[in-house]
């Protein structure tokens, strides 16, 4: 028998496809998420919109809070660690969370190094803005990639930018001759073997999900149509006026993302979405996507 190898890690990521992963801050929200059909929950003390409002250092959540959520729901429970903070990751592994998000939403612990994720038996997800960043994280052992988007903004524009960038760069690789790939790997700052693999496969070797700014069923549909395997919804549910119906609607929107008639039915009469932020109004130093490289 063997446990914790990359295939088993990617296996769980495959099972999450087409399901919504929801940020929750307590067992009550986790209950709402599971009841609404969420495929997994992300346990964190402050959802990104609140981190923005309140400021200060954001760290891994209290293990008690994570455990309370694990007791409350039967679906996979994910939790976040600071970029490069492998000690937080070791604690989450001891807690047996199902997936670790090495996330730019928390304050980075290391400006140069991300976690060497191959050392862990638990799968990791990491954010990216382009193909080079995605392949660097996969090289370190990430079993799932998500767009960074701009977390807590309620604005889809950055997630769209990052998804289009990644899929566009993948497509470029597939039409390149072999003799151009090394130079391209250098430009991307990506491991050569992974660049070769992507050129051959025409997709990333791990599932590629969308995150950062998804607030409505239409946002979820947009990201799915742009090629996301599924979506993470952070602040978009619990910062909205009526979370439970919105959570259900986004679950259904991901399943029926390419059926506009169904989507109009799903979107009908939902109360107010979260207030969003104009990206240009967010000062550069507060843009979460700039964290990590």
């Amino acid at each position: 028998m063997s446990k914790g190898q990359l295939e088993v890690k990617i296996g769980l990521a495959e099972m999450l496809k087409g399901g919504v992963i929801m940020d929750v801050m307590n067992p009550e929200q986790a209950r709402i998420a599971e009841d609404a059909g969420a495929v997994a929950v992300m346990a964190l003390e402050r959802i990104p919109a609140l981190i923005r409002e309140e400021g200060g250092i954001s760290r891994m959540s209290d293990p008690k809070m994570i455990q309370d959520i694990q007791k409350e729901v039967s679906i996979p429970v994910m939790a976040k660690v600071r970029i490069g903070h492998f000690a937080e990751a070791q604690i989450l592994e001891a807690l047996e969370v199902d997936f670790i998000d090495e996330s730019e939403v928390l304050t980075p612990a290391d400006e140069h190094n991300h976690i060497w994720k191959h050392d862990f038996k638990i799968p990791f997800v990491c954010g990216c803005r382009d193909l080079g960043e995605a392949l660097r994280r996969i090289g370190e052992g990430a079993a799932m990639i998500r767009t960074k988007g701009e977390a807590g903004s309620g604005n889809i524009v950055e997630a769209v930018r990052h998804m289009r960038k990644v899929t566009g760069q993948i497509k470029e690789l597939t039409v390149m001759n072999q003799d151009l790939l090394m130079a391209r790997a250098k430009e991307l700052g990506a491991p050569f073997s992974l660049v070769q693999q992507v050129a051959k496969l025409g997709k990333l070797p791990v599932p590629n999900f969308a995150a950062g700014g998804i607030a409505t069923p239409a946002d979820a549909s947009l990201m799915m149509q742009l090629g996301a395997g599924t979506v993470f919804v952070g602040s978009g549910i619990f910062m909205s006026e009526d979370p439970s119906p919105r959570a259900k609607a986004i679950v259904e929107a991901v399943a029926y993302y390419d059926d506009p008639k169904k989507l109009s039915e799903i979107s009908f009469g939902l109360k107010k979405a979260m207030d969003g932020l104009e990206i240009s109004k967010i000062p550069d130093e507060e843009r979460l996507q700039e964290r990590g490289w």
């Binding site: 446990k3 088993v8 769980l12 099972m15 599971e34 609404a36 495929v39 039967s74 199902d98 259900k248």
Partner: protein
């Protein structure tokens, strides 16, 4: 012959490769009316709570039990859970196609997920295959008429009842096609292994 893959949530795309390999056409099934056109159905891995939510919302239950009276269903992991008679969670409403009781995540959280090589008994033939268990369900009880295809350390992990097959693991992740073949083209297996004249 066209086989449907329930495509509400989960790793449904992985099954298309296996069906291709067997020379079977496949369609992704998202609406109950799509069951009319197909000769067999796969319920893939994913989360059974999510599948329940979407199957209720789309009125799949009656259509799927009617379908199962006539045609074979293959369920893997969450699919097995959906085919069971009894499941230990209030948010899951199973179809009751297999006379089994199932403990969701019976093998534990993701850190306990694993791969193994297991002998499987199918159509009087034993074959060792690679299997992948991901937060897998455990079959805790089987009724009469349920054929046991494989066990892992004494725990039943693959069953057959009538034309239906349920697996706690994921043959689609390891490129294993024997279960798909047995469920959807059973005559080809018996003709190969036992009765060459029956083809």
């Amino acid at each position: 012959m066209k086989i449907g893959i329930l495509a509400l949530q989960g790793d449904y795309e992985k099954h298309t490769g296996i069906l291709d390999e067997l020379g079977l056409d496949s369609i992704l099934v998202r609406y109950p009316f799509e069951l009319i056109d197909i000769e067999g159905l796969i319920i893939p891995g994913g989360e059974s709570t999510t599948l329940t939510h979407l199957m209720k919302r789309m009125n799949f239950y009656k259509a799927m039990t009617d379908f199962a009276n006539e045609k074979p269903i293959l369920g893997t992991c969450a699919g097995l859970i959906m085919m069971a008679k009894v499941v230990n969670h209030h948010l899951v409403k199973p179809l009751g196609l297999l006379d089994i009781e199932v403990d969701r995540n019976g093998y534990g959280r993701q850190i306990h997920s694993f791969t193994e090589n297991l002998p499987v008994q199918l159509n009087n033939h034993i074959e060792k295959i690679p299997v992948t268990f991901i937060r897998a369900p455990k079959i805790t009880k089987t009724g009469e008429g349920v054929e046991i295809l494989a066990e892992y350390h004494g725990e039943i992990c693959a069953v057959k009842q009538g034309k239906h097959i349920g697996l706690a693991f994921h043959p689609e992740l390891d490129g294993v096609s024997i279960f798909h073949k047995s469920a959807f083209i059973p005559n080809s297996i018996s003709s190969n292994k036992e009765k060459p004249h029956a083809a």
